[in-house]
């Protein structure tokens, strides 16, 4: 139990990453693959935030007068993840657009049937 509470965030983050990766590797459906990618994205973000966390720390916002600087969690991963989420949505939207176009062209989303991405 102690172990679980110690590492629960890591477990959560990496479970997401590996489930997402498994979807990417094993699934045939293009939209499913993109869902997998978004799950990997979430997992990585969670991992980064977890790295910056300090036990008993407070959010890096001086909203109340009594807050101490020593007690705050790392703001740098938070800033990084903030931008990563926004970029993530843009990339996802682009990927889905391409998926829609591929569907319009081939009439299927099955990656095993869309074979002309060969060079």
């Amino acid at each position: 139990m102690n172990f679980l509470s110690e590492y629960i965030y890591y477990i959560g983050a990496f479970s997401l990453i590996f489930i997402g990766l498994f979807i990417v590797l094993a699934k045939k459906n293009l939209i499913k693959v993109i869902i997998g990618l978004s799950i990997v994205d979430t997992g990585i973000n969670l991992f980064l935030i977890t790295l910056g966390y300090i036990r008993g720390g407070t959010a890096p916002v001086f909203s109340k007068p009594g807050l101490k600087a020593e007690n705050m969690v790392d703001p740098v991963p938070q800033a990084l993840v903030l931008t990563a989420i926004v970029i993530g949505v843009a990339v996802l939207a682009l990927a889905l657009t391409l998926a829609i176009k591929l569907y319009k062209h081939y009439g299927t989303l099955n990656l095993r049937k869309i074979k002309e991405q060969k060079w």
Partner: protein, 79 residues
């Protein structure tokens, strides 16, 4: 407190696996939305309110919306 987090992470993993298993893409999208939502809550517990807000607004709302549109434009069921 810890038990809440444990349950949340457990739920998150379960919904990720659900996203993996569901044949109906709409259900898979909703499952991934749940993953994002729980992640947002976890961000809040990890003292990152900014990120939690962004994840809730973007990951849970916008991404899901975009996915739903895309699924409606293509095919709903995985072969």
């Amino acid at each position: 407190m810890e038990i809440v987090i444990l349950i949340l992470v457990f739920l998150m993993i379960v919904s990720a696996i659900a996203a993996l298993i569901f044949k109906d893409l709409m259900n898979a999208v909703i499952a991934s939305c749940v993953v994002s939502l729980i992640a947002a809550v976890l961000f809040y517990f990890l003292q990152a309110p900014d990120v939690a807000m962004a994840e809730a607004a973007i990951g849970a709302a916008l991404v899901t919306g975009i996915f739903v549109i895309a699924v409606k434009r293509t095919k709903r069921f995985e072969e």
